[in-house]
């Protein structure tokens, strides 16, 4: 036998419903005059909080060398299989002996989960705060190594959206 446990016994007032209805109406009415949260997007831009997972970037060392060593850990961790890397022995004398000759991300497949960032042993791939990168074609949303490095240049020193838009 199941026991019915009533956590709440409605009072007579509750059973009338009308006062509750009015309460509800008053609540929404009050909210009508509250401050609006809408951001008028193209005119003003939302600055995402720290830790926002937007467009990827590939980091560089201060001397300009790409950090990525093409270990493909990001590709292995990627649940959407959107990262495609072609590794090659690096042309540099010093440092890590492997680098990506191609590094493509299919942004249409990407789910921006950030696993790649977590899997990266070299802190090479990171997700930036950039969220508006829509395009008119599928090809346009296939970002390559040059593109990812460019994103790094755009975001390495400051937040993308706090920079005055002068492009």
């Amino acid at each position: 036998m199941a026991t019915v446990v009533k956590s709440y016994e409605p009072t007579f007032r509750d059973k009338l419903y009308i006062p509750a209805l009015f309460q509800g109406l008053m609540l929404t009415f009050k909210h009508m005059f509250k401050k609006k949260v809408t951001i008028q997007y193209p005119d003003e831009k939302h600055v995402p909080p720290e830790g926002y997972r937007g467009l990827h970037r590939l980091n560089k060392y201060p001397d300009g060398r790409i950090r990525c060593v093409a270990c493909e850990m990001c590709a292995a961790a990627c649940p959407a299989h959107c990262i495609h890397i072609v590794p090659e022995p690096s042309p540099w004398e010093e440092g890590k002996e492997r680098y990506p000759v191609r590094f493509d991300i299919d942004l249409l497949r990407c789910i921006f989960c950030g696993f790649c960032e977590m899997a990266c042993p070299e802190k090479a791939i990171e997700l930036t705060e950039i969220y508006d990168f829509a395009d008119y074609s599928r090809e346009g949303l296939w970002i390559d190594k040059a593109g990812l490095l460019e994103i790094y240049e755009l975001t390495k020193t400051q937040n993308y959206y706090t920079v005055p838009n002068d492009e």
Binding site: C71, E72, A76, P87, E88, K96, E122
Partner: protein, 552 residues
């Protein structure tokens, strides 16, 4: 048979085998680095230490052989040995050894080709401790070339000396040695030598870490991206068992596969790097017909129709009008079909021969490993299935009036001598079944696209009469078809048969019906290790319903 106990399991083992072998056979994992079944035991990595009852110290299980105790000294009344692999002491010991091994290891797994199949990774994960207590600078050394195909990364080396022992005991070439001692010791090569023997690639296979690397594969891919297929090598008549690693229908590397009846643990570098030849070859992807001095693509239907017209026109009673050129590079199934075509469809009108072999010298290693002088994988099968094979075919056809020829091409690495070239040129109609634009294919009037050796499926008979299954490593592309299917279409078209084999297995079954020594040699039976051919005399089989000697 001694009865031993490993952890909780009672195992009856052969006398004289080591604890490590017994445990591995039973599926109990004991980690090890320096031990390799084909090499001598040095016991230097100290990873396989186990606790054995009655022994004061931990014992290296790779060097502890199991003997029989007299009845009164049996442990617990019945065991000859009691081994414990999971006690606290053993676990601590593994942890400690791993800590030592990792002291100077660069931990550069992200750039290491071994990552994913590395025993240092696996064991660290399973048995190691998570943190390093080593505060000093790690020892750093430069990479070196040991041979044209092998690079050593000294930083990753754990000094198991498998490679050194390999060059001493298996290849017998002694290129490698350990230089300096103690912490300074490193694998090195004698100044006047380079690691370029034909077995050199195996040191990469047997290296348990990423110290020895193949220049052919370095930084090309990651292990987990690769698809592993079990196949056999077709570069000589030994028929070594191999593992082919590919991604997206592209082969990246070939490793040895263990088969003690054929190649043991190793393969030669000819087979290991042989797949590159097929990458560079100009592929034939569609039936081609000669027109205006060149070739133009044609549909399969068109090609078969052309064949029918050309071959039925020749039925004017002349003897030996049609020549079939068989190839020892093809599978038994294809050769069986080809033999049937020549023997039964064209009957008396046909003769069948083969291209001459370009013989190489046979290579033997001290360890017994050999590279056969017969560099074709399936001459045995050719002899078995093309029964009236003429060796001196060129002499014979010179006098005859052969104007029609159907040739199975040997492949990209075979040249054509002038005599044969003029023979082929004299043909009124030459059909060549090939996968690439070889010199022979260039002379053809019609080219039928077959699979490359990496795409073929079927059985091969090696020079010791062992039948092994050749599994395709990559799949057929474009308009190419399996060899046996092309020949079947040929038979259906020219010989008006209605053969409808849907897979190579059906051809295999039919082949077994007709050739008793191949009876039952299906993939399910021979598996990945192969079986020796049955020793039954074969008489000439014929198509069912025809007069002639039938095969029982």
């Amino acid at each position: 048979m001694p009865l031993i106990k490993i952890d909780d399991r009672e195992i009856e083992v052969e006398k004289g085998i080591t604890v490590l072998q017994a445990a591995t056979a039973e599926g109990i994992e004991i980690p090890y680095y320096c031990y390799h079944p084909a090499l001598s035991i040095v016991g230097s990595c100290r990873m396989c230490l186990v606790e054995i009852e009655g022994m004061p110290k931990l014992q290296v299980s790779c060097n502890t052989s199991i003997g029989e105790l007299p009845p009164e000294r049996k442990k617990d009344g019945k065991y000859d040995m009691i081994v414990r692999t999971q006690t606290e002491i053993v676990k601590r010991e593994r942890e400690n050894v791993l800590e030592f091994l990792l002291l100077n290891h660069p931990l550069d797994c992200p750039v290491c080709d071994q990552a994913g199949e590395c025993f240092l990774q696996d064991y660290s994960y399973k048995y190691g401790r998570a943190h390093s207590r080593f505060l000093e600078e790690k020892r750093v050394r430069k990479n070196e070339y040991l041979g044209s195909n092998v690079i050593i990364n000294h930083n990753r080396c754990i000094m198991c000396t498998r490679c050194v022992r390999f060059t001493r005991e298996i290849s017998g070439t002694n290129e490698l040695f350990v230089q300096a001692r103690g912490d300074n010791s490193k694998i090195s090569i004698f100044e006047d030598k380079s690691l370029d023997n034909l077995l050199a690639g195996n040191v990469i296979d047997i290296c348990p870490v990423g110290a020895l690397l193949s220049t052919d594969y370095i930084h090309k891919n990651r292990f987990w991206n690769l698809e592993e297929k079990k196949s056999i090598c077709t570069d000589c008549s030994v028929g070594c068992n191999i593992l082919v690693y590919s991604q997206n229908n592209r082969i990246f590397r070939i490793n040895a596969r263990e088969n003690h009846s054929v190649n043991g643990y190793f393969i030669c570098d000819i087979g290991r790097y042989g797949f590159h030849r097929y990458e560079d070859a100009e592929k034939v992807t569609s039936p081609l017909i000669r027109s205006d001095g060149g070739f133009k693509p044609i549909s399969w239907e068109g090609a078969l129709k052309e064949i029918y017209e050309q071959f039925s026109r020749s039925k004017d009673g002349e003897k030996h009008q049609i020549v079939g050129i068989a190839s020892p590079f093809h599978t038994n199934e294809s050769l069986f079909m080809f033999g049937r075509l020549m023997d039964n469809i064209f009957k008396d009108k046909s003769i069948i021969g083969k291209l001459p072999f370009i013989e190489d010298y046979e290579i033997h290693f001290d360890s017994g490993f050999r590279i056969s002088k017969d560099r074709s994988p399936n001459r045995q099968g050719l002899l078995d299935f093309c029964l009236n094979l003429e060796d001196e075919i060129l002499q014979k056809v010179k006098t005859g009036k052969v104007r029609l020829c159907y040739a199975l091409d040997d492949g990209v690495d075979r040249k054509l001598d002038e005599e044969w070239e003029s023979f082929f040129k004299s043909q009124r109609f030459l059909v060549v079944q090939t996968y690439a634009m070889t010199p022979l294919a260039k002379l053809a009037h019609l080219i039928l696209p077959g699979p490359s050796p990496m795409e073929r499926e079927g059985t091969m008979t090696n020079d010791q009469g062992r039948i092994q299954w050749l599994k395709p490593s990559v799949s057929l592309t474009n308009k190419t078809r399996p060899d046996w299917e092309i020949i079947m279409e040929f038979m259906n078209t020219v010989g008006k048969r209605e053969l409808k084999y849907s897979s190579v297995n059906e051809v295999n079954l039919e082949m077994g019906e007709r050739f008793p020594s191949y009876r039952g040699m299906t993939f399910f039976k021979i598996g990945y290790q192969g079986l020796p051919k049955k020793n039954i005399a074969t008489s000439r089989p014929s198509e069912g319903g025809q007069a002639g000697n039938t095969v029982t």
